[in-house]
């Protein structure tokens, strides 16, 4: 079991940008920071694909070896007229098991500091949700915090503004949108715990389940020397408290607060995110479906070799480590006064080979330590993954 108090680790690593190095990219631009947007044609077409192998064992029991085609995503981008642009992303998961429009948005750039965005957009809660393309990462698995606490990829229909403001050597970015928001499945779902992913109703692209929009916003500051630090907030009513205008239930709110950072110290790249959820849950089920959750991760990546390898110019071989933790249910049992567990700690290692910056071959070792809600003996899961991810 991990003995390290990861909270302390995360706090220390949040301070890491102080020691960072110059880098000009910002999280806000991640959706445009993709290699396909270089075409001279009025519409650019691109995308990425991601696949991997799995070999895992849980407490000595293995399902054996299998292969997984995770995602095939297609991007469409067009500058309709100067300062009016369109971006779309169509996602196929596991072949055609799940097909979704992740992004279909239009932006009107009135000023660099005032851009109207409308359509289906990636919600700016945390950095990973916005900047999640697998070719950018050394690990096959997304961080637990970014799937279990923030349900990445969370996209929604909405509108709002974003922009950039330069001040001295700092770049400030903001995003502020109203979206339809998550829905009832956050609780009383087939996961048996408060689980935001289950609140991603497909109907949210057609109508709000309760007629009350949800706010999502992110503020970030980028020092070209030290790195980027962002805070984000998401808040709204998630349950269907009214039917045909008649109030049938209390309004129940969900709030997500997140802090994210990325920095570069010499060659060492550090990025991470920490998120806390607060959910209104009916009292009679609040010990099963937690009212508070939190999670966080830190990825540390170090390029050990940068050279011409096998004829690929500027190839890079990276070593990486990930520390992560999620707690699905923060609190105590009313009757016993004992801690409610339901948590996972994770430690992962990666070796990756990048023949180009947008293409990566990954070899990962992952180890999770999971405890159920009562804190019974820890379930240990570990395994190996080989993966490939590339933009095209």
């Amino acid at each position: 079991m991990l003995k390290i108090d990861m909270t302390i680790v995360f706090i220390l690593l949040l301070l890491a940008p102080i020691f960072g190095q110059q880098d000009t990219s910002v999280v806000q631009d991640a959706i445009y920071d993709r290699p396909f947007i270089t075409s001279d044609f009025p519409v650019a077409l691109g995308g990425y694909l991601e696949g991997n192998t799995n070999y895992f064992s849980e407490d000595g029991v293995s399902e054996g070896f299998s292969m997984e085609f995770r995602r095939f995503n297609i991007f469409l981008y067009s500058t309709i007229i100067p300062r009016v642009r369109f971006l779309a992303e169509l996602e196929f998961e596991h072949g055609t098991e799940e097909i979704a429009i992740e992004t279909a948005q239009v932006e009107f750039e009135f000023l660099q500091a005032l851009i109207l965005r409308a359509g289906i957009m990636v919600v700016p809660i945390g950095a990973y949700n916005v900047n999640h393309d697998p070719p950018k990462y050394e690990f096959v698995e997304r961080p637990l915090e970014a799937t279990q606490i923030i349900p990445s990829t969370l996209s929604d229909i909405g509108f709002g503004f974003n922009g950039k403001i330069f001040w001295n050597n700092l770049l400030f970015t903001y995003d502020a949108y109203l979206v339809n928001g998550l829905s009832d499945g956050i609780i009383l779902n087939d996961q048996g715990r408060t689980f935001l992913e289950s609140g991603k109703s497909e109907e949210r692209f057609a109508e709000d389940n309760n007629g009350s929009p949800t706010f999502s916003g992110r503020l970030a500051v980028k020092s070209f020397k030290f790195g980027e630090l962002g805070i984000s907030y998401y808040s709204g009513i998630y349950n269907s408290f009214q039917i045909e205008g008649e109030i049938v239930d209390a309004k129940r709110n969900i709030e997500i607060a997140a802090i994210d950072f990325n920095t570069k110290i010499e060659k060492l790249i550090i990025q991470g995110e920490f998120a806390v959820n607060s959910i209104d849950v009916p009292k009679d089920i609040s010990e099963i479906f937690g009212t508070k959750q939190w999670g966080g991760y830190v990825d540390i990546v170090y390029p050990i070799i940068q050279a011409n390898i096998l004829g690929f110019d500027n190839s890079v071989i990276n070593l990486a480590v990930r520390l992560e933790r999620v707690d699905y249910n923060v609190g105590e049992f009313a009757e016993t006064g004992k801690n409610i567990y339901d948590d996972i700690n994770g430690l992962s290692f990666a070796i990756s080979f990048r023949p180009a910056s947008g293409t990566v071959l990954k070899a990962n070792y992952i180890h999770y330590w999971s405890r159920d809600v009562l804190g019974n003996p820890t379930v240990k899961t570990a395994g190996f993954q080989f993966g490939i991810a590339t933009y095209f």
């Binding site: 779902n189 087939d190 048996g192 050279a307 011409n308 080979f353 009562l374």
Partner: protein
């Protein structure tokens, strides 16, 4: 060439890591794990067991039919790792005596309290006029197939309703009116249309099918082909359910879960040959704990061959015993008195805390946090044994507890 060396070195390193089994978590010692199938199942039976295992672990959400009122959302939630439950999932049942006749208060939502509900739906509360309220800790489910295979004749042979042997222990079967889907086996012996109950704290269920159909409905609010009617909160004047079509699970699924539970292995023993364990077992017999907690029973014929004609060691007699006033919650089922409880099988008791969050909760409602405390609550027919336990030396008490923890 240098690049090839880089790549080969890294690949070699990773493949060595992959081949290193130390990096993968080992299987826990089998003697420390309750869950697992019995040995000698055929491949088809093993497949059915695993299908049932998946259903046993299935978590029901509101859209799957959970509720509208319920206690828990999965079989596995109450029986984590097939072990005992926790106060989080403890059931509450209630009723009252009316004119000397037991009334399970069905018109007021009884006999089981569903203290949780789906969104926007009120949970039940205990009616103010209930005279008997009991809390029932979910039991371990391992070894139940063997207990189901014990013929009624064996149970009746152990009964001593008039205490004819004068040991202070009687023991009576609980006769239960069968439900319409009950299919008697040749080993069942009816009495005036009723059959011997053997499952549940009060032996209120005749067979595992009844136990599991009841658990689906009363614990999770899940209807099945065997029982199509959801529970509603009639206390709140509500007569509609969860808006999910019934049945919410099929007969096939229920039967898979029954088969899964039938084919769980018996709880494993530990340290059987330890000198203190042996001494403790001798003391257990000497002070006649074994008068109710019978060390051995023999199964009869079973359609699952490996369950047939086996000597098992559940430390139970499947009979009701008067446990005295301290354990009398004023609640009952079938022909049991309110002070009567079915002898709890002791097998697996040493692993109880591994499914209870590290702190054991003993007795029917989990009120005892130590085995010594649990023994102290024994009264009625167990008074003599309890008193003899209290008179043992500290070392002898320790040995008896060590024996119990080896079960």
């Amino acid at each position: 060439m240098k690049g090839i060396i880089y790549i080969l070195s890294l690949c070699t390193t990773f493949f060595i890591a992959v081949s290193c089994s130390e990096l993968l978590p080992p299987e826990p010692e089998q003697e420390t794990v309750l869950a697992g199938p019995i040995e000698d199942l055929t491949p088809q039976q093993l497949r059915d067991h695993l299908v049932g295992d998946e259903q046993f672990g299935r978590i029901f959400g509101q859209e799957d039919g959970l509720g509208p009122i319920f206690v828990s959302n999965a079989c596995e939630s109450c029986h984590i790792g097939d072990g005992k439950g926790h106060p989080l999932t403890t059931l509450t049942r209630f009723g009252k005596y009316s004119g000397g006749i037991w009334d399970p208060m069905v018109e007021e939502g009884g006999p089981q309290l569903q203290n949780r509900s789906i969104a926007g739906y009120p949970p039940e509360t205990i009616p103010g006029d209930a005279t008997g309220v009991t809390r029932l800790m979910p039991p371990a489910v391992t070894g139940l197939g063997y207990l189901a295979a014990v013929p009624d004749a064996v149970i009746l042979e152990l009964a001593d309703p008039d205490d004819s042997d004068g040991d202070g222990i009687s023991g009576v079967p609980n006769y239960i009116q069968p439900l319409d889907y009950f299919m008697p086996l040749p080993s069942h012996i009816p009495s005036n249309g009723k059959y011997i109950g053997r499952f549940g704290k009060k032996a209120g269920a005749i067979d595992l099918l009844q136990q599991i159909v009841t658990a689906y409905k009363e614990d999770m609010g899940i209807t099945s082909d065997f029982d199509l009617q959801d529970n509603f909160n009639i206390q709140a004047g509500l007569t509609t359910g969860d808006f999910v079509d019934d049945p919410e699970v099929s007969a096939a699924i229920v039967n898979n879960v029954v088969f899964y539970v039938r084919t769980l292995k018996v709880p494993p023993r530990r340290d059987e040959n330890d000198i203190d364990v042996i001494a403790g077992e001798n003391l257990f017999n000497q002070i006649n704990c074994s008068g109710c907690h019978r060390p051995s029973l023999v199964t009869g014929f079973s359609d699952v061959t490996t369950l047939s004609n086996k000597t098992i060691h559940p430390y139970a007699d499947m009979l009701l015993h008067d446990m005295g006033s301290e354990l009398d919650d004023g609640y009952t089922e079938g022909t049991a008195l309110t002070s009567e409880w079915r002898t709890a099988p002791l097998w697996g008791i040493g692993l109880a805390e591994d499914s209870q969050g590290g702190s054991p909760f003993y007795l029917h409602d989990g009120r005892a946090s130590t085995l010594e405390s649990a023994i102290g609550f024994h009264g009625g027919e167990a008074s003599n044994s309890r008193d003899e336990f209290n008179n043992l030396s500290t070392n002898e008490k320790d040995q008896l507890i060590i024996f119990l923890k080896s079960l």
